[in-house]
Symmetry: C2
Subunit: 199 residues, 2 copies
C-alpha cells in the first residue's frame, strides 16, 4: 500500500484474511469498516480479542471452550442430570446448546477416530469419557456424532467401551424439518423409512 | 451458550458477526478458528487490532487512512509528480495502488455528491482539493471516480471548480480486460465503440 514495509494496517488485513470465510478482498473491506467504526467496533473487538486470547481454554473435564479451567456447564449443578451428550467438536456443542433442549452435560471428543490421519482413542478424550461415566453417576450417553463414516465408526467404538448398565442412544436419523424428499439422498430416505413411526 | 450472562467468547462472536461478509454462523466458525490458533492468529490479531485502534487516522492532507497525521504517500517526495488522482473512497485508493502504475498522490473525497443524502461539496474534502491543486504545483488531476451517476456528477462539479491551466483527465471507459461483449451492458459497449482506437 505504501513505499515503506508492511504497515500495521496491511498486517491487520493479512491476519484478517486468514480467518475462515474471509479472503484478501473481504479482509480489506472488514478492516476499512473497522477503522470507520472505531469506537463502536474496532476498540471493543480489540479489547475482547485480548481478553479471549488471555482467558480462553479447554474445559479440563469436557473439552468445551471456556474462560475458566472447568466450563460453566460442567460446574452447573442444574446440568447434573446423569446425561452426557458426546459431540465431535465445540461447534457441535454450540449447535446443540442453541436448541436449548438438552439439559445435561457434554463431552467434546475433539475429532473422530481416523486410521488415515492416525487418530486413535487416546487422541480423542475417549478414556476421559469412560472415567466420567463412572465418576459422575451417568445413566445415559447420547452419541451426537456426525452421520459420516468416521463419525459412525467412532460411535461404534465408544459404544463398545461403555458397555454396562447405562443407556446408550444416538440422534434419530430421518428427513430434516422443512426438507423436500426430492432433494434428499437415498440413504436418508431409507433411514427415514426404516425408522417410520405411527401417527 | 451458558447459564450465565454473555461470556467474553459470546461477546467476541457478536462483534465478529458485525463485520461485513460475516454472519452469526461464520463468526462462530472464525472465533473457534482463532481460539484454536491462539499463538499463530489470535494473539497477533488482538495486538495488531489494538495498535490500529490507537494509531489509525485519516491523513490530514489527502484523507487516506494512515498511522500518522500525514500519510506515507503524501510525505514521500517520490510521489510529488504533480499528479493527483481523485478517488471516492480509501478502498478505491487501495485498488489503484495495487496496480502499482500510478506514481503520483491521491485525494480521497470520502463519498460523492448526493442531493438525496444531503452531501454537498463541503462534506467531501472538495475545498481541500482546490487548495492542494494551488499549493502542490499540480499539473494534472485524474478523476478516478466510479462510473455511477453520483460519481459522474461529482466529477463534473470538480472539473468546474478546477478550471485553469491544469490538465483534467478521467479513467478511460471501455471493455474490461477479459470481458466478453455478450455479458457487457449497452452503455459500456457504446463507450468503448466511441473511444475506439487505431491498432
Amino acid at each position: 500500500m505504501t513505499d515503506r514495509n508492511l504497515t500495521d494496517i496491511d498486517a491487520l488485513i493479512e491476519l484478517m484474511a486468514k480467518l475462515p470465510g474471509l479472503g484478501p478482498r473481504s479482509a480489506r473491506r472488514a478492516v476499512l469498516h473497522l477503522i470507520r467504526k472505531r469506537a463502536l467496533l474496532l476498540t471493543p473487538l480489540a479489547d475482547t480479542l485480548q481478553t479471549v486470547a488471555e482467558t480462553a481454554r479447554e474445559c479440563l473435564n469436557c473439552g468445551n471452550i471456556s474462560t475458566s479451567d472447568v466450563c460453566d456447564i460442567c460446574t452447573s449443578n442444574k446440568r447434573a442430570t446423569g446425561e452426557i451428550c458426546v459431540v465431535e467438536d465445540v461447534s457441535d456443542l454450540w449447535a446443540m446448546e442453541r436448541t436449548g433442549v438438552f439439559k445435561g452435560r457434554y463431552h467434546v471428543l475433539g475429532g473422530t477416530l481416523s486410521a488415515l490421519d492416525a487418530i486413535g482413542p487416546d487422541e480423542l478424550r475417549i478414556p476421559r469419557l469412560v472415567d466420567r461415566v463412572a465418576a459422575e453417576n451417568i445413566t445415559e450417553v447420547i452419541l451426537a456424532l456426525n452421520a459420516t463414516i468416521d463419525g459412525q465408526t467412532t460411535a461404534h467404538y465408544i459404544a463398545d467401551q461403555l458397555h454396562g448398565n447405562i443407556r446408550l442412544t444416538s440422534l434419530a436419523q430421518g428427513v430434516p424439518i422443512g426438507g423436500e424428499l426430492d432433494y434428499l439422498d437415498e440413504g436418508t430416505i431409507t433411514a427415514a423409512l426404516q425408522a417410520r413411526k405411527d401417527i
